[in-house]
Amino acid sequence: MAELAADQHVRYIVTVEKKKDSFESLVMEHIRLNGAYWGLTTLDLLHKLHAVGAAEVVDWIMSCYHPESGGFGGNVGHDPHVLYTLSAVQVLCLFDRLDVLDIDKVADYVAGLQNEDGSFSGDVWGEVDTRFSYIALCTLSLLHRLHKINMQKAVDFVVSCKNLDGGFGAMPGGESHAGQIFCCVGALAITGSLHHIDRDLLGWWLCERQCKDGGLNGRPEKLADVCYSWWVLSSLIMIDRVHWIDKEKLTKFILNCQDKETGGISDRPDNAVDIYHTYFGVAGLSLMEYPGVKPMDPAYALPLDVVNRIFLRK
């Protein structure tokens, strides 16, 4: 079987970070904080977080901070949004540097976006999505500030997005989608509310995402894509049904999506690589206990040792 080209991936991540002027990088410029989370978490999973300067990264992250609102933008000069606030908090967790934050200010920003029905808006403009429910709960939990919101209502809203196939959509009535399922299962896991899930029903739907080529898709009758290795596997682990898929075939699929010369992983074999799929590929391998890759926590999307440190250290 092909092997994980770990060194090439590390080199790819470190160099991609420096190529800020390509068209591809510019199109992604507004989500650079997400990119930092994907790249740095991958480095940590491969035991190479020290390849970057922690102080420099922390400084740059804080330059995306909006002190008046308490939220983070996707890059310097961009508006604050929970999507980037979570990434900022996660990266600071990787470096064990939550001390640079005004934790209550950041937590108040996130908590302030909870709506009357328990849902969360992504920012002041009011878009509602179960992605934002997960993000809010995950951020507040990492900051030990879940008491700032109405947890019961937050859970009730997520549950109201449950479908008859056992999955979850972006909003009540929305179609089940593996990415959205991860968010909802993650939100329920973090709040100790997984009993709202029919684990056999959802587990079967999720394990049927495995296609003939071994890869996982996000919805029925769609093509496989490396990113669902994370969304589907983490959800299956949280509900204790991950043994229902064929790990060997999936591992092969992910490894076949590597660019072994220049590093990086793509959505499907022989497609162009990017940092997003590199992260989801390596994270997927981590969840399948691939040798040499640090184990990952399926709910907080951070390495297990980081999460254990946050919740178990005195």
Partner: protein, 697 residues
């Protein structure tokens, strides 16, 4: 980046790309600058349009446009001018969607604009846009989400939208999005009892026909099968919750003494109840579906013993959702009692609005149980059951039951036949479906086999009493055959089929007395009252099912199976000894159900996989600080003080601290070879006498 081929960049591409990049960089910089300086001129707004045309995901540009729109609209009073301004925004969204039909920012901009309610919505334009989009990509979930938003916004009745799903399904059966929307709309219409949707049976019969047509057209397409499964679930859910088992069973006689002579000869069937020594009477009630609302008024207790005023029922499930199949109470005897006297306890559950299932139906099959308690003070001759380690020698000690009379099997079941006979419609509907799918040409379609297995099991579930149990076994056997086929046919999902088959096997082995008795015995130790013993070894079980049939068991041997989970065993509140050696248990968190069994004294976990995996698949099923069901500072305070490695052993700490074990076997697990773990165990379990057959201290 999705679907872009990997190839080295050609020099001419690179030149074009860098020109494009320069233009984009300038645009982004200018738009951000205008945003920060709050410049809302026509020219500045035009630049944001150019940016979004290239990159519809630039969310700050959408925010800028909203601010600019709000700013400029303040000066407009002419409705036509307002309408035209709103129109401009709609057009920008359309251009952006042409570039990326899945742009979150673009779709939300449109919703936001409509929600401003500044201009009348042109419903033709909106639905026209959606028609075009869903024609290009019938599965675009942004489009479907917007359609649901629009239908609600414009007040389109559900019936009309249901017709639209029909149109989409007729275009192409393989449209999961349309089937999904259909399930949502139908559920709403049925709940609201809209005109033409009063009869669930009629609607579901029609839907079964519709989806079967699709399935026969293309049996390999997943969309229809998921819809069929939903229909099946709707057809086979019980109408009302029922009590299906209890402990103590009706007519049972419990004794506090282990010593044989103390128990009168006439009460051969009296059962030793360990907790009576501590003056605790456990009662377990098992329902056919999860219910909530058991309390002092919904469950009436009458006894000549005094149990105090505060009787609390506890849901026995790993997750405390409020709903559970299994409920328990542990009554504390409060009054003085005289030795060798019998006391009786009456339990009755009348029809009750308090006891409710998840679907909201209430309990309406009243039952009444009576059992007796014999309290014997034998402190003088107190026997220590664990003065030497218990062994699990299978070949010698296990004698299958020959005498059915001594087993309470028949009494275990709740037979107060007040329960309404099987709903005929359900059974007929299921039988029709079975006949239909048997006709489908055997093209080795896994979905055909899986659906047949599920239909058969739904039929089996209806056959729960008397002679129909023979039919139940037949259904089980046929379903097991399908699962074996599926394991061969679809090896990638092998372990799913194995898990399903394991449940069917448990059903088959325990559903009728004759088969079950082969696995039951009484464990007889000299001078001691017999213990009820069940042995289900080497059966390839991967998980436990039908635990309601085991709630009376005191000694359970599940060795040499492939169990990954012990969920279900929490219902066995009489269990004293459990053997799950040589299974596939991979973590302490997977054993959390055992922490609910207060009577458990002997546990054999040897030769499992505890500590062998870096990923714990029950980390979020159990209670932990990560899910905020355990407060770390309370749970680990003592361990921190003793410098125990909490980050490594948090799961072992939480598991062992709740058990009062006398004997533990854990050899043959990865974790057991760690020296610090072996010293930790006796610290965590002060009651422990035997660890891996050696003295624990």
């Amino acid at each position: 980046m999705h679907g872009r081929p990997r190839r080295p960049a050609k020099p001419e591409d690179e030149a074009a790309s860098s020109a494009k990049a320069a233009k984009l960089r300038d645009l982004q910089a200018q738009v951000l600058q205008n945003h920060h300086s709050r410049t809302y001129t026509k020219e500045a707004i035009g630049l944001s349009f150019k940016l979004l045309e290239i990159n519809p995901e630039a969310y700050t540009a959408w925010n800028y446009r909203k601010l600019a729109f709000q700013h400029n609209i303040k000066e407009l009073y002419d409705p036509e001018a307002i309408r035209s301004a709103a129109d401009d925004e709609l057009r920008v969204v359309e251009v952006a969607l042409r570039q990326n039909p899945k742009s979150y920012g673009a779709w939300y901009h449109r919703k936001w604009l409509l929600n401003q309610k500044l201009a009348p919505v042109d419903s033709k334009r909106e639905f026209g846009l959606l028609d075009k989009l869903l024609k290009v990509d019938a599965r675009n979930f942004h489009g479907w989400n917007y359609r649901r938003f629009l239908a609600r916004f414009m007040g389109v009745p559900d019936e009309e939208e249901l017709k639209y799903t029909m149109d989409k399904i007729s275009d192409n059966f393989s449209n999961y999005s349309a089937w999904h929307n259909r399930s949502i709309l139908l559920s709403n219409l049925l709940i609201q009892q809209s005109k033409g949707f009063e009869s669930k049976q009629k609607i579901f019969s029609e839907e079964f026909e519709l989806v079967t047509q699709a399935l026969f057209t293309d049996p390999s397409d997943q969309s229809g099968w998921f819809y069929h499964l939903w229909l099946l679930a709707q057809t086979s859910t019980p109408d009302n919750p029922q009590l299906i088992a209890s402990w103590p069973f009706n007519g049972a006689k419990l004794s506090s003494s282990l010593v044989k002579e103390k128990v009168e000869k006439s009460t051969l069937s009296s059962i030793w109840c360990h907790s009576l020594k501590e003056r605790i009477v456990p009662i377990v009630l098992y329902f056919n579906e999860p219910v909530k609302g058991l309390n002092q008024s919904s469950v009436k207790l009458k006894s000549d013993l005094d149990f105090g005023k505060d009787i609390r029922w506890r849901a026995l499930s790993v997750t405390d959702s409020g709903y559970s199949n299994c409920w328990a109470t542990h009554l504390q005897i409060a009054n003085e009692w005289s030795s060798s006297q019998q006391y009786s306890v009456d339990v009755s559950i009348p029809c009750s609005d308090d006891i409710v299932s998840r679907s909201g139906s209430t309990y309406n099959c009243p039952v009444h149980l009576t059992f007796a308690i014999e309290l014997i003070s034998d402190e003088a001759q107190d026997i220590d059951l664990f003065d030497k380690p218990v062994s699990w020698n299978r070949s010698e000690s296990f004698q299958p039951h020959e005498n059915h009379e001594s087993m309470p099997f028949d009494l275990l079941k709740i037979t107060s036949a007040l329960v309404e006979e099987d709903s005929n419609w359900h059974f007929e509907r299921l039988s029709e479906e079975i006949d239909l799918f048997r006709e489908l040409p055997d093209d080795n379609s896994k979905f055909v086999k899986l659906t047949l297995a599920r239909l058969l099991l739904a039929c089996a579930a209806i056959k729960s009493r008397g002679r129909s149990l023979i039919e139940r076994k037949r259904y089980c056997e046929e379903a097991m055959g399908y699962f074996s086929d599926l394991i061969r046919l679809d090896p990638s999902h092998k372990r799913y089929y194995e898990d399903e088959r394991s449940l069917v096997l448990m059903d088959k082995l325990t559903c009728d007395m004759e088969t079950f008795m082969k696995h039951c015995s009484v464990k007889v130790e000299p001078n001691l009252v017999p213990l009820n013993h069940v042995q289900l070894c080497s059966l390839s079980l991967t998980r436990i099912g039908f635990a309601e049939r085991l709630i009376w068991v005191q000694v359970l041997d599940l060795g040499h199976n492939s169990l990954r989970s012990v969920e279900g065993l929490e219902a066995l509140q009489q269990l004293v000894s459990l053997n799950i050696s040589n299974n596939q248990i991979s973590s302490f968190t997977a054993l959390e159900p055992l922490t609910k069994i207060i009577s458990l004294k002997v546990l054999d976990l040897s030769f499992n996989k505890i500590g062998a995996h870096s990923i714990d698949t029950t980390r979020y099923i159990c209670s932990s600080p990560f899910s905020h069901k355990v407060e770390a500072c309370e749970a680990f305070e003592e361990c921190w003080k003793k410098s125990i490695n909490v980050e490594e052993y948090w799961d072992a700490i939480l598991f062992f601290e709740t058990l009062k074990l006398a004997q533990l076997d854990i050899k043959g697990n990865a974790v057991a070879s760690k020296e610090d773990f072996r010293t930790l165990v006796p610290m965590l379990i002060p009651s422990l006498k035997w660890l891996d057959a050696e003295c624990a201290n």
